[in-house]
Symmetry: C2
Subunit: 272 residues, 2 copies
């Protein structure tokens, strides 16, 4: 099967069409695609230009591109949907039933789904600042945390905290267990005081070794002995304090974040 | 109109149903909703439990909830769609036309759309580490950057860089113009060398004041005089070096990121 070009066309950022398109395409295993985002297609000229570009691709590649569209203005969608491609409207089948259910018309104009200059925006910024200030054992303002991730170095704590802050406005701190703590088998007191917020990340020794090898090849840090030791000692601490443990070996950042919020019962203050 | 409860139901993280649902609901202005994510509905028991929960809400609130679903397994979707709610399948109308176009069946199983333990995963981690290491003028490894954001303190640089790293695997650094640079009207040499990668963020004095006031109320940092001065001096620098400027006053992080990638012509190495 030929490789296809996939266009994500939007009158806004393109995030929604990218997300939906990506999810749908993931159900077609082994499909080879080249992906192109076309954001801010917000007037007639840009819509025509998008069509020209898509049609050029169709000609050059000898296969129709696939277009995931979130265009909501009828005129713009009407122009782009005539392109030489499989045109998929991500909102088709969603807006009409909602209009009926809510007994009102939708705006048929792009709604902004991300916070701009309001209370939610401020909250999001605060959550990001919090994650940065309380990253990697720094800060230590755990009273304000929704969750505090603990684990050995490179278990996925920092990206998960940043993701939770950016996407969900959740206040997430993280603390890497130090050599002293691993040896003594005890948590520092300032963490113990917030035991209920603690969530542990772990992963297999093989995977951790792979990750650490990429950062510091052939070091003590990435040696099998050291990794084995750290993981065992950390898991002993988690067991001792009854901390819920999540294995991140086969997980994306999105999965880790979603699982932790689920288990912790933490409210998402905003959504992607 | 009554406030409605909106459920985002997924056999995976829920990110896609949240994103689509949010986008669609944004087209209904003034609609009041309570949002609940139900991720990892991955077996029959969980599906029935989801239905019970949705039906309870319908009864308690006297109005049908709205369900955005990305369930792809027929059995699970079949169970949940019988709940007492407006059931909206985010993938309806997308999968079938794609199956026809590609002349193959989709897996009808959840595809994972986010990277796990592969080259893309590593790239994402590298981009996040890069953003953290080269944040706020630190690091300075601009040779590796895809883009370098410049601007005064609190113009939105850090969140945008983190977002671009997490969602797109883009290497984004940022540099806050210092007092010395603003006064002299010149960029530091290590930035000038990467002039083509530079993108400037600015915003209105009113908005910047509001943001800074929240952080350091009644300080010199948040005074109208200081803000006026910094913004003018920064804009003079941007003009002098011919740096493209983006006004972030009315923009979400998503919009800033998407606009910059668009203008810079930077390839998205992964997608949300």
């Amino acid at each position: 099967m030929r490789r296809r070009t996939v266009y994500f066309v939007s009158d806004q950022t393109g995030v929604t069409s990218e997300t939906v398109g990506h999810s749908v395409l993931a159900q077609f295993q082994g499909l080879e695609v080249r992906e192109v985002t076309m954001p801010f297609i917000s007037n007639v000229e840009k819509a025509h230009e998008a069509v020209r570009r898509i049609n050029r691709t169709a000609e050059e590649e000898g296969a129709r591109p696939i277009v995931f569209s979130t265009l909501v203005e009828d005129e713009l969608r009407g122009i782009v949907m005539k392109c030489n491609a499989l045109f998929l409207d991500c909102f088709a089948g969603l807006v009409l039933p909602l209009e009926r259910e809510l007994e009102r018309r939708s705006s048929h104009r792009t709604g902004r789904s991300h916070p701009v200059a309001d209370a939610v925006y401020t909250l999001r910024m605060d959550a990001i600042n919090y994650a940065l200030t309380n990253d990697d054992g720094a800060g230590g303002d755990y009273g304000r945390a929704d969750v505090v991730l603990v684990g050995v170095s490179r278990s996925g704590k920092t990206p998960t905290c940043l993701y939770m802050a950016l996407q969900y406005g959740v206040f997430a701190a993280n603390y890497p267990l130090t050599d002293d703590e691993l040896e003594a088998g005890v948590l520092p007191r300032r963490l113990e005081a917030h035991r209920k917020k603690l969530h542990a990340l772990t992963l297999t020794p093989e995977r951790l070794r792979q990750i650490r090898e990429e950062r510091r090849p052939q070091s003590r840090y990435s040696s099998p002995q050291q990794i084995q030791y750290e993981l065992r000692a950390a898991e002993a601490i988690f067991a001792r304090y009854g901390i819920a443990v999540l294995d991140t070996t086969e997980s994306s950042i999105e999965e880790i974040a979603s699982r932790i919020l689920n288990v912790a019962g933490v409210e998402r203050r905003l959504r992607p």
